[in-house]
Symmetry: C2
Subunit: 150 residues, 2 copies
C-alpha cells in the first residue's frame, strides 16, 4: 500500500484539497526520479527529452523558441537555454528565421531522432513498470487531472 500518509510519514492532512496537492507533488517526484535514472546513461535530462519530443512532433517543420516554450510541460522553464544545451550535443539545429530576424528556427537532427528512437522502448517499459494502474484507471486519472485544472 503506497498511501501518501505512509510515504511522507504524515498522519493526517488539513483538508482533502491539501492532501491531493501533496499527493500530486509527491507522485511527480516519484515519476521524475524514475525518468532521471532511465535517461542518465544517455546523458540527457527529462526536460531535454521533452524538448526533443516536441521537435519530433513537428515532423521536419522548424519551430521557434517561443513555440517550444508554450508546449513545454513547465511553462516557467527556459527554452532558450535548453535548446542551447541540445545544440551543443548535436541533437538540434538552430537557424535564424529569414522572414523575422528576431526568431530562431529549431530543428531536430538525425542524431536527435536516433536518440528518441533508442529511448522509446525503454521509456514504454519503464512507464508500465512504474505505473501500477490498468487502462480504465489511467483514463479516470487523466480525466480527473484535466478537470482539476478547470
Amino acid at each position: 500500500m503506497g498511501k501518501i500518509e505512509d510515504a511522507i510519514q504524515q498522519k493526517e492532512f488539513k483538508d482533502p484539497f491539501n492532501k491531493v496537492v501533496v499527493n500530486i507533488l509527491y507522485t511527480q517526484s516519484y515519476l521524475v526520479t524514475a525518468q532521471n535514472a532511465l535517461f542518465k546513461p544517455y546523458d540527457i535530462s527529462p526536460e531535454q527529452y521533452n524538448v526533443l519530443r516536441i521537435l519530433k512532433g513537428q515532423a521536419g517543420v522548424p519551430i521557434t523558441v517561443s513555440s517550444i516554450q508554450e508546449r513545454m510541460l513547465n511553462k516557467m522553464s527556459n527554452a532558450s537555454r535548453l535548446v542551447e544545451k541540445l545544440k551543443s550535443k548535436g541533437l538540434v539545429l538552430r537557424s535564424e528565421c529569414p522572414n523575422d530576424r528576431r526568431q530562431v528556427d529549431i530543428l531536430i537532427t538525425q542524431k536527435g531522432l536516433d536518440l528518441l528512437h533508442d529511448l522509446r522502448p525503454l521509456l514504454e517499459q519503464a512507464n508500465k513498470n512504474f505505473i501500477n494502474l490498468n487502462l480504465e484507471e489511467i483514463e479516470t486519472l487523466n480525466n480527473l487531472l484535466d478537470k482539476l485544472r478547470g
Copy 2:
C-alpha cells in the same frame, strides 16, 4: 475544458501510460506555479514551506536533517541546504544533537510558526480556487495516485 492535449498542443500520445505521465508532470507545474505566486510576497519558496510544515508537525519535538529529508515530497532534494536557508531567515533553530554529535536537531521558531499561521488561510483558499474538483473526485484522485505508485 482543460484537456492536456490542448494545454501542450499535442494531438495524441504514444500510449495511455505516456499520456498520464505527461498529465501529472503538467499538473504539478500548474500547482507549483500557483504556490510560487502565493508564497512570493512572504519571501519563501514551496520547498521551504514544505520543510516548515514538517517541523510544525513535530509539535516542539526536534527532528534531524535526515528525518526531514525522508519526509520531504522530493526525496532527492537537499534538506541540509534548505534548513540553512530557513535558519538565515530566523524560521528554524539548529543545534547539535547531544547523544550523537553527527546529527543536528532542527526546531521551528515562533517566527516560523507565525508565518505558517499567516499563510494557512491563503493556502486553503488558493487550493479551493485552483482545484476544480468536488470532494468525491478528490478522494478518487488520491486513491488512484496512491495505487499508481504501487
